[in-house]
Amino acid sequence: MSWGPLLVACGACYVLKLSGLSVPDRVLADQRVQRLTAALPVALLAALIALQTWVSDRSLVIDARTGGLAVAAVAVLLRAPFIVVVFLAALTAALLRLA
């Protein structure tokens, strides 16, 4: 994996953090900016879940990861801690591949 985009992304994320502490309130306090900043993680995380679960090499697939995600969803609904959620997802996928 190449270093270029990695370093650019690190820099961009730091500038965002610093801007909050430095930029005059007017820009970031804008209602539209605030609403977009709240909506972006919802849309991006949801899309990432779908792509990481049902896509392999640009085609749609249903494999062991789907079982892992289903079990993770139940764990999240039961308010299980983070480590339990990801462990159960990995365990489920591994067991499904054994079967």
């Binding site: 994996m1 190449s2 270093w3 270029g4 985009p5 990695l6 370093l7 992304a9 690190c10 820099g11 961009a12 994320c13 730091y14 953090k17 610093l18 801007s19 909050g20 502490l21 930029v23 970031l28 605030q34 977009l36 900043t37 909506a39 972006l40 993680p41 919802v42 849309a43 991006l44 995380l45 949801a46 899309a47 990432l48 879940i49 779908a50 792509l51 990481q52 679960t53 896509v55 640009r58 085609s59 749609l60 990861r65 079982g67 892992g68 995600l69 993770a72 969803a73 999240v76 801690p81 983070f82 480590i83 959620v85 159960l88 997802a89 990995a90 996928a93 591994a94 067991l95 591949r97």
Partner: protein
């Protein structure tokens, strides 16, 4: 304490997932040292193959930290080097702890920010390194279900943001659009299409609000 445990677990799994995605232990550690924002880091290594989209998505996910900074700037009242250091520690957890102590005065609040931020920074980086080295020792990470860890982690990050029908509708729309465009575009572009869905969704909401 519970934040510490969660951070350790989250850092371990990030290190493992990053190495499984093809990043070196070095690159994985640099992400934790300098990006230091869990969701952005996970997204970056998940998209990996398309560098520009990976960087764009990580940056869009990091935008919320700017808003945290906005809330914190008066509270922390830092300048110069201290501001540069404080900025790196602006994350979900340190913001929550600092704002939670706001009623106990600025000193308690500042202490909460610095202690939470520093503790998580150290733990996060140590856990990342351990996870990365451990995953590097595994012959085939897929066999252990490591590829199911990232979606589960994203789900755990998403679920607290899903209160109410609005966000849920947006999440479903983002999933549908991302999957529909998938056969036609690189993976990173499908994620960015979801960012477009968020913009469109807000525009529709604003129109509805002004019509009512």
């Amino acid at each position: 304490m519970s934040i510490g445990l969660a951070t350790g677990a989250y850092g371990l799994s990030f290190g493992a997932v990053s190495v499984a995605a093809g990043f070196s232990v070095w690159q994985t550690s640099v992400l934790s040292l300098f990006m230091f924002s869990g969701a952005s880091q996970y997204a970056f290594v998940a998209i990996a193959s398309n560098g520009i989209s990976a960087a764009a998505t990580a940056t869009l996910l990091g935008a919320r930290n700017a808003l945290y900074g906005l809330r914190l700037s008066e509270l922390l009242a830092v300048r110069g080097v201290r501001r540069a250091a404080a900025a790196q520690l602006v994350i979900d957890e340190s913001t929550a702890m600092a704002l939670g102590r706001e009623s106990q005065g600025p000193l308690a609040s500042r202490l909460a920010f610095w202690s939470t931020g520093l503790a998580i920074y150290v733990l996060w980086n140590a856990a990342t390194l351990i996870g990365a080295v451990a995953a590097g020792a595994l012959p085939d990470p897929r066999k252990y279900g490591l590829d199911a860890v990232a979606p589960a982690a994203f789900l755990a990050l998403l679920s607290p943001r899903l209160r109410g029908p609005g966000p849920l509708g947006l999440a479903v729309a983002a999933v549908v659009v991302a999957l529909v465009v998938t056969p036609f575009v690189p993976k990173g572009v499908a994620v960015l299409a979801a960012a477009g869905v968020a913009v469109l969704w807000l525009a529709l909401q604003t129109r509805r609000a002004s019509a009512a």
